[in-house]
């Protein structure tokens, strides 16, 4: 996994240590309430997580069409477990541990599930780069299973791009109630993945 950490999104070489220091700064700012820094952090780690997910699935002989699901699950775990990162500790080992944990989880879950011939997806493998169109959209599917209140709020904010305040105005709710519904909805999404395990 190490190698993926040494290349930034635009291809310029950034040493693993510098990159991780920058992520640690963004994460600390996010923890202090700077949502924009936090969003940038998630954006920056996503291509790295994607590359790692593809490699992990490929080395287990599985189709990497599931990679984006693994990426989304990992992002959810990073988010919901962000308090387990010690602000004094380096960021890289924490991120790698979360990604490894979710990868192992995903492989275990898929181990006995659907098996897809890897030959059918060689083009996808070779393609690389950005976010692929998903054949199976687990997060979207789990979103449909949420209680209606949580589902509407998560959808409005995630898909329609509403802010907390806009969602509150649209559904005649308080900002606090929107925050609670959003948080519960995201936690429930993460739980749905776990419950799926055989």
């Amino acid at each position: 996994m190490r190698a993926a950490w040494s290349e930034s999104k635009d291809g310029t070489f950034v040493s693993g240590g510098e990159q991780e220091k920058q992520w640690a700064l963004l994460m600390r700012a996010g923890n202090a309430g700077d949502g924009e820094s936090y969003r940038r952090l998630l954006k920056q780690v996503t291509p790295v997580l994607r590359a790692a997910a593809r490699r992990g699935l490929a080395s287990a002989g599985m189709a990497d069409t599931d990679a984006e699901d693994v990426v989304q699950e990992t992002l959810l775990a990073i988010h919901l477990k962000r308090q387990s990162w010690d602000e004094e500790a380096p960021f890289g080992p924490w991120l790698r541990a979360i990604a490894r944990h979710k990868m192992i989880d995903a492989l275990r879950r898929r181990g006995r599930g659907v098996s897809v011939s890897i030959d059918a997806f060689t083009e996808v493998l070779a393609d690389g780069g950005g976010e692929p169109d998903m054949l199976v959209d687990d997060v979207g599917r789990h979103l449909d299973d949420l209680p209606p209140g949580q589902r509407t709020i998560v959808r409005a904010i995630a898909v329609d791009g509403a802010s907390i305040g806009e969602a509150a105005a649209r559904f005649s709710m308080t900002n606090g109630a929107v925050r609670v519904a959003l948080h519960r909805g995201l936690a429930a999404l993460a739980r749905k993945f776990r419950e799926e395990q055989p």
Partner: protein, 212 residues
Amino acid sequence: MKTDDLIRALAADSATRPMSLPRAFLAAMIPGAAIAFGLYLAVLGPRPHLLGLLAEPRFLFKVCLTLLLFSLSERLVMRLAKPGTDSHSAALMVLIVPLLLVAGIAAELLLVPVDLWGQRLIGTNALHCLKSIPSLGLAPLAAILWFLRQGAPENPGRAGAAAGLLAGAMGAALYATHCPDDSPLFVAVWYTLAIAFLSALGAVMGRRLLRW
């Protein structure tokens, strides 16, 4: 759902701050320890002349050993809650406790005549010890498992076992001030069995409860 959409939702949720791990630890341990202590006062209670016993080397050794196990396993639990943190050295440090116990056993065997060994080992309260330490440790175990759920243990079974160790140390520290059997021989057999039981229970529960 697109990954960018998910990121937008996660960023919008960042204002909802989860409890920091040190705070979560206190939030778990205060009620957990209070329940254990209440149970101790209600059912067991301290030995008579407890403070005077502090001059007794065997009593002091027994109590200090449980407190040492408490602080070392607390350190281990904290590390296991954080992914990407090396916990091997913390796990090795816990081994100091059995090493000290072996030294205590050696001293006891040198000081006590052979025909009293069996009596010291069986003590007067063996079964009581086996029941009391796990009972006192149950509420702390639940509390520590709840705390670990606020973290992200990479290995749920191992984290659960460490939680059982810490809960066992709390139960043992309380029980040590009640039980009249102070011999290291007694401690080595019955305390160890009771704490091992809690640790095994913690491992089993951890595997079920600590997945994330």
